[in-house]
Symmetry: C3
Subunit: 437 residues, 3 copies
Amino acid sequence: MVSRRHFLQNSSLMLGAALVSKVEAASIPEAAVMDSSRTHTPIFPASGRPYQPVVTLNGWTLPWRMKNGWKEFHLVSEPVEREFAAGMVGHLWGYNGQTPGPTIEAVEGDKVRIFVTNKLPEHTAVHWHGMLLPCGMDGVGGLTQPQIKPGQTFVYEFELKKSGTFMYHPHADEMVQMAMGMMGLFIVHPKNPRFMAVDRDFAFLIAAYDIDPGTYTPRVNTMTEFNMWTFNSRVFPAIDPMVVALGDKVRIRVGNLTMTNHPIHLHGHTFEVTGTDGGWVPKTARWPEVTTDVAVGQMRAIEFHADAAGDWAFHCHKSHHTMNAMGHAVPTLIGANTRDLTAKIKQVAQGYMPMGETGMADMSDMNMPLPANTLPMMTGTGPFGSLEMGGMFTVLKVRAGQAAGNYQDPGWYQHPKGTVARLVEDEPAEPVHRHEK
Amino acid sequence: MVSRRHFLQNSSLMLGAALVSKVEAASIPEAAVMDSSRTHTPIFPASGRPYQPVVTLNGWTLPWRMKNGWKEFHLVSEPVEREFAAGMVGHLWGYNGQTPGPTIEAVEGDKVRIFVTNKLPEHTAVHWHGMLLPCGMDGVGGLTQPQIKPGQTFVYEFELKKSGTFMYHPHADEMVQMAMGMMGLFIVHPKNPRFMAVDRDFAFLIAAYDIDPGTYTPRVNTMTEFNMWTFNSRVFPAIDPMVVALGDKVRIRVGNLTMTNHPIHLHGHTFEVTGTDGGWVPKTARWPEVTTDVAVGQMRAIEFHADAAGDWAFHCHKSHHTMNAMGHAVPTLIGANTRDLTAKIKQVAQGYMPMGETGMADMSDMNMPLPANTLPMMTGTGPFGSLEMGGMFTVLKVRAGQAAGNYQDPGWYQHPKGTVARLVEDEPAEPVHRHEK
Amino acid sequence: MVSRRHFLQNSSLMLGAALVSKVEAASIPEAAVMDSSRTHTPIFPASGRPYQPVVTLNGWTLPWRMKNGWKEFHLVSEPVEREFAAGMVGHLWGYNGQTPGPTIEAVEGDKVRIFVTNKLPEHTAVHWHGMLLPCGMDGVGGLTQPQIKPGQTFVYEFELKKSGTFMYHPHADEMVQMAMGMMGLFIVHPKNPRFMAVDRDFAFLIAAYDIDPGTYTPRVNTMTEFNMWTFNSRVFPAIDPMVVALGDKVRIRVGNLTMTNHPIHLHGHTFEVTGTDGGWVPKTARWPEVTTDVAVGQMRAIEFHADAAGDWAFHCHKSHHTMNAMGHAVPTLIGANTRDLTAKIKQVAQGYMPMGETGMADMSDMNMPLPANTLPMMTGTGPFGSLEMGGMFTVLKVRAGQAAGNYQDPGWYQHPKGTVARLVEDEPAEPVHRHEK
């Protein structure tokens, strides 16, 4: 007890005076921290109720420890660097080293205790979106709790009353903190592992940023004209594919924390929305869909049978959202003859290159000089050439004749392995670093 | 009879020549007018079929009179002043003294006659959104009726064929008139009072305005960059809370007349959408939700059991919409060191104050000088300090151990009383003024 | 065989070397081309399985030929001129002479072979949105096939596994090509003609363009501030009405390929969404609606009984989308007194005309000089005067006492005839021209 108090007095990780009584005899668990944006091997639970873990696209799940019947987690809100794709890094805010923060996974009926340490330069609070919990645990700064000041740790405790797809994000300086990347998934698995069982279970959050070319920090006041549209703060071609076996029952869970709707579209398959952040959708109420509109602050679980082999596009159907950073007010040159003009401009600006007279498909072949920390607008190479995509686009890879440990990936784009770790003999997960305490 | 004709000849409230035959022997009922933006005590019907009235958030219900089996209402379209919150007034257009106009409440099967007098500087017409009615009563200026010119009164007559949540708004110079605030709720209660019965029934419309700081009149041509996002033309913290008793079955009816979707989010409870502007949703078709996306020109009735005591946030989940007026193109200073710069600027501009280097949470503590008629961006104080919110945000207050006449409100923000007047010993409703005739 | 090869060698319509093996013994069917934007008489099938054709609003259906059990179609992607309404033409890209391209209609179980010839100045590919098909036929350039270079023809072959409402559009330089108008409907009728049978079946796609006043070519990089909101690339009052008989069961199919949601609203009737691009919605899952939000990349089939005679508005409920091109940053003059100012301005600018002091309803009466190729913002005349509308607005005309061959249209706006050709003794369809081969 003394040693814990000693630690608290001498550390930047300090419990706020008003909050000490909440933690009582509990020592604070270590806070795992991640420095990579790769998709990590899902962790099967070593203790507590059994469940099949989700695959967080380009993300990871937060370890916990059991303590007197409580699952204890430790989130640290802090500035992070996130690689959107090779060649571009964002200076963002997140949790435990990355944005989105680690996925929290637990089971219906679990009692969870979540320590939140604030290492941001301003106060914060964490709202557990979709959860049924005591009002004091709801995480609305000012309304249900005092703000968590920089250096303080707040303890949330509640029982998980229902299974489903939830998320966490700040309810303090909310617009700014979400615009900076603060968000994470919270998956509650059913107590009965056969209920709503699937073969593959993927999850990610949609986030949008407005980062001027050549810069690193988002403009936090932007309302509509974002230029980085992401799945889990990654853009194509750096969003991992979702690899499944032919015949698999597949679930994909999507949450939206941007400022506009995202119609999520899957090729080659018909799906149903089976879950929301409010719970599971009854069978009588489900619609057949190929595009589901995920509104802001909504989560959708879609399910389908992967009954068609191949590489199937999976993306937001707003075509601007499958582009990387670009200007939205550039004039159109389609049909214009710029030859004479170009000659004249080249007399004064040697590198000048007119473009767009025949559309923009050439863009992905051009080696235009880009500002530092800026991605090409249209990119990604497939077996038949450039995909001319960016942003919120990835591929569902349905592979026939594949079983556990036998995934053969054509390997024509990044991260062929490790994306469906349940059945894969994966390379060992990267070591999980620890915050110094 | 003579006196009525006399009145018509000598009044600016003149029936259009083409319309006189419609009113025949009917005299025009008085038009009640409201000069306050408080939530008014719902009116239980003194005549006609029984029903449980709705609580219009920061609004009121239009009185009617029975005449030969018809319920007669009188709407007056006119310029109004609306207080968005203490410190900011909009010069808008509305009905009977306020925007939104008064809620019209009636019962399935009722025959209604609605006189609409135009006191605007331009013509108008009223469309009864969602209603099944004869085409000539549909209110589309030019298509189903002549425009109602300034000074004229038009008479709409129809029978209410179905119960549900409807609204009225102009179908004449439509973009401008709705951008100026012309809209109102039209609630049709079921003939059978036990059908879809609830304990509490709240209703409001979402409206957006673009009002430059320091000015009073909206920019009517704005398509996306609005800066006032409102529930019934009020912004937090001036939107009344919704107070209910623990265990109550609660309905909240929302309609959207802005230019974008609004994902309405409730904390601490799971709800179902039970009604639209098309009618009631069958039980087999309902989804469990915590966030429902209300599209433009849609109405949604959500229902839930208030089974968790406390103060629960209820808001649009687009984080820009829970802010008051702000610029959307302000550069981000997070991580920047402005100390040296500030010193230099202060040499030329004494009051200069850099902000945002550590996020924007400090904004709600700053006493920045604001232009006249401009609200702070983030505001509202709860039991634990500033909520740092604005715009489309209010609180569902679920109170245990409370019964009729015994509401105990903690009183930490405005309008603690009168919000659930059905069970409350309320202060007398403000006197309802009359238009001079 | 020789003659076909001869043709291929000497034509700009050349099969790409890599693609020749695909077509094998097939000769390429003629590509019908359309030079009109009128609604064409639906074609009842002369061969193959029977079905009731759809009415494409201001569009037409692509003829096919049967060849060894395959239905063969020929699409040509190419620059086109589209009349938005009398007085404004867009220089767009489309298929077979118009945008949207011709509607493809076939029957569940059909085997279809679709030749796509690229006459654009850049490569393209065609994705069959919503279809269940082999991955190689999915039309994602780079991912599932090589791009179709200018001058090449690609052959798509697949079996139609389910009935429903689908579409086709490029998946190559996607943002640009859709912003230029490349899209078309693909209707698959049920094998059992009694399944989901209706009396009237209309279909159209929503497209948005950003065309500066006085110009012809869209700005292809625009993300939000479009100014031409269209049904099948037509704007009110040039969108044909939908004429039906009182009592008809009516279906309207809508697809959205813009960059934002469109809440489609019908007056005077309650409808249900019965189909999506994923299939047919089970009865237990349907909602009663008057406004359905069609998200980007979604299709919705709505159905209702036309049980109320009259002229019923049918439109997008975003009021900016029922206006033609306008500025969105124009200051509001409501309430301002511009008389003195006007006098001064007129001294230097003779034609100056202040407007908007009393709203904008006068706009439709003004004869303001417009730039070339620019439509008035608010227009359309009905039986009671100006409708003050533009953009995504048309009228459902429900006519009593009308039977096959006896449509009596009041004729107060364009295209009174030919809109419901199934029952109409129509003027002969315009001759369908042929591409020179």
